[in-house]
């Protein structure tokens, strides 16, 4: 029970310190609004998604249609609202796939069997040169355009990137004294990986995953524009952008709305990663440090010391070690 309360306290402190920073506040506001709109759109949109009016296409913004109508006479706001739901789903799924796939690859690169480790490095380096768009194109031929294709293609591509970027830091951890000690004490490799390596590369993970989340939103609009993103009739920001972009000369406003939303959300996701890394790091966030000392009484004693000492063998403190040596 105490550990749950402890987790809540940490989260509250992290969110509070993010809120104090300008970029953190911006990203929290935008992402919060995104979640809210997605939730609302599941039960209510100003107009039904099924409603079109061929006599009133490309309407200018009015009281009836706040952002106007699109090329089939459907309400822009409703489609953008419903689109936020699809994009949220794509975003979350891609983060999950990227994290799982990236960590699996990372584990493969860290194994003691040198042959396997070397080979996986070479294979990953080779695969990283494969463009995500090409991969999505290849997948879209047999499976047709769908959310799954976007998630699979992007999760694969970003997972490779994640593994490649996290590797140097993970190697440092894997060769550190405390991992040696754990191994000689008989700890299993999987436990060392999840218990020591992953927590220590958390800053890199946070930044990479939030960047993946931002990039997949861009990828979704790009792929949908090419006709291999979400299926026709599925609302998404990319769909709204793609349908209006061919009319940009005549109706530039319609492109603006979806473009603005995509830009804001991608920016917010990228800033969110940065802010979260800084605020969730006990070394740079003094408030978090004090919480850990007060509230972490139930935790191991090694963790209490960890925040103040630079050199230590605890898992949390390893973060400091990697940060110090990496920069």
């Amino acid at each position: 029970m105490t550990s749950v309360r402890y987790a809540f306290t940490v989260m509250r402190v992290v969110l509070r310190s993010m809120w104090r920073r300008a970029e953190g506040r911006f990203s929290l506001l935008v992402l919060g609004l995104w979640l809210l709109v997605s939730l609302v759109s599941m039960f209510w949109t100003p107009w039904s998604l099924w409603w079109t009016d061929g006599y009133h296409v490309w309407q200018k913004p009015s009281m009836l249609h706040i952002l106007g109508t699109d090329g089939s006479g459907a309400d822009m706001v409703s489609w953008l609202m419903a689109g936020s739901r699809t994009n949220l789903l794509i975003c979350v799924l891609t983060i999950v796939v990227t994290a799982i796939f990236g960590l699996l690859l990372l584990a493969a690169m860290l194994v003691r069997a040198t042959m396997l480790a070397q080979m996986s490095v070479v294979v990953i380096d080779a695969l990283i040169s494969l463009p995500t768009v090409l991969l999505a194109l290849i997948l879209a031929v047999p499976f047709g355009p769908s959310v799954a294709v976007i998630v699979a293609a992007c999760g694969f591509g970003y997972g490779l990137n994640l593994a490649r970027i996290a590797r140097p830091q993970a190697l440092l951890v894997a060769r550190s004294g405390y991992v040696e000690a754990a191994m000689s004490n008989g700890a299993r490799a999987s436990r060392v990986f999840l218990g020591h390596v992953v927590p220590n590369i958390r800053p890199v993970l946070v930044v990479q995953l939030s960047m993946s989340a931002g990039t997949v939103i861009l990828a979704e609009s790009g792929l949908t524009y090419l006709g291999i993103g979400v299926q026709s009739g599925v609302p998404s920001w990319g769909h709204s952008l793609a349908t209006s972009v061919s009319f940009i000369n005549v109706y530039p406003l319609t492109v603006l709305w979806s473009g603005l939303i995509i830009t804001c959300v991608v920016l917010a996701l990228n800033l969110f990663g940065d802010a979260l890394r800084d605020c969730a790091d006990p070394l740079s966030n003094a408030e978090l440090r004090s919480i850990r000392q007060d509230g972490g009484a139930g935790q191991s004693s090694g963790e209490q010391q960890s925040s103040s000492e630079q050199q230590s063998s605890s898992a949390v403190l390893g973060q400091g070690v990697t940060r110090g040596s990496g920069q």
Binding site: W50, W51, T52, D53, G54, Y55, V57, W58, G71, S72, G73, A74, G144, G227, Q231, S232, G233, H239, T243, S246, F247, I248, N249, V250
Partner: protein, 554 residues
Amino acid sequence: MAENLRSGDAQGTSTETTGSIHDERQTSEQSADLPGSTDDSLNSYQKRHRSTPPWVWIVAVIAAVAIAAGGVFAYRHANSSSSVAETSQSISIGLKLAPTNLDIRNEAGAALDQVLIGNVYEGLVARNSENAVVPALAKSWTISKDAKTYTFTLHAGERFSNGDALDSKDVVWSLNSLIDNDYVNAQALANVESVSADGTTTVVLKLKAPDAALLWNLTGRAGLVLDEEAHYDAKTQAIGSGPYLVDSFKQNESLTLKANPRYWGSHQAKTHTVVLRYITDDNAAINALKSNNVQVLAPITANLSSSVSNDGDVVVKAGNDTDKFVLAFNSTGPKTADKRVRQAIRYAIDNKALISSRGGADELLGGPIPSLDPGYEDLTKLYPFNQNKAKELLSEAGYSTSKPLKLDFEYANIYGTEIGDQLRSQLKAVGIDLNVKVVEFSAWLNDVYTNKNYDLSLVDHNESHDFNAWANPEYYFNYDNKQVQELYAKAVSSTSDAAYESYLKQAARLVSEDAPADWLFNYRVTTAYRKSVTGFPLNLNQSLLPLWNVQNKA
């Protein structure tokens, strides 16, 4: 003195490097290193160097660049103004669909008919802008009473652009080689028994059975007359008897036509050079028109035309065409085999809304025959937009809100997503769930055209005189109506135009009543051109584009 020289040398090397170092050196010397400046020779050396400060060089370079840029601009301006003065000699036309090569015998597609027939190649007969048959190489013709013998009389003195004479022998060879080698459109001459020459200006066609569509078919590829003796690469060149020659062909980019100096007839080209540019992107095409890179744009998307029509120099006009946007219902499909379902869909579709959303240029079409084709009749009243009737028919067929009708709708992505979104929304209103799949054209060809595995499908059937598709049970419509097939056979074998049209009219009405499809609208091609351009054909210009009369009076 030696010391002075040395310091002077040091100064010299430093000034030789870059301006910024030189400046730094000066300021530091002036502020801190005063003893150096007391020496006369050093001072004079510094002065000499200060007399050409680096900014002079910068200014000189900028001036040189400016003069060069100005010169280039002036040169180009002079060139462009001279080309403006010459515009009556040349004109650029923006088109959309490009032919892959110029081989009119082996390469199918309307893009080739559009640019070559009537311009480079000529047929025995031709089509006017109302889709009616008019004389071309043949100045007249007679048809025997049993409608089985056609006798054509050629103009005297006809010749190809390479100087060869064009006479009845060339006609016989052209038609026979088309039939023998089964070139594109050879089936149009399926009823021809023999083609023979009688003297140098008379050609006789004998038929196995009367064929009312034969004359019209001869206006297309089937009737083209080519030069047997000419040897050229048909993929990049074309030698015919028309008012234009192919000057150069760049695949997917442009086709340049030049006036044929040896042209024999009355359609002498009024503009010496015509450049046909292929621009697939709508926005790029409009920019080309705005910047006067092209003087004509055919077609322009009707919804986009407002961006140029506000410009006082550009005229936007729609012309009639034979394009039919056919929403086909699989007549043997598991759900669409039920006539009530097909009728319900026709009642549920608001064709006027579709047309309005596309810019309002298109026309309502209630049956398989458009207004420019023989046998046309206004059938739009057969299935007016009536949602209540659609719901009644659906409940008769056993569908309700608890058991909604679910249909797949597959079409190629070239028609855009809007039309699918709108149909889904319109059918939703009467209780039909439409699962729209927008696919690549090749996927559509495989699923729908070849395997006939579909519920609903959409294609723009742009051919003229193509009613035979409804009399052919093997076609992807799966439409099999014996009465229609009999009427069509009677129409084709009829000996008079009036009989031909009346049979077709009856057959078309039967087809429309059976509701094997909804003819969403008759697409009308929208053309945009500069005010100075005259003589550009508006009707049918996606398959028939005679350019001899086009002029740019700038």
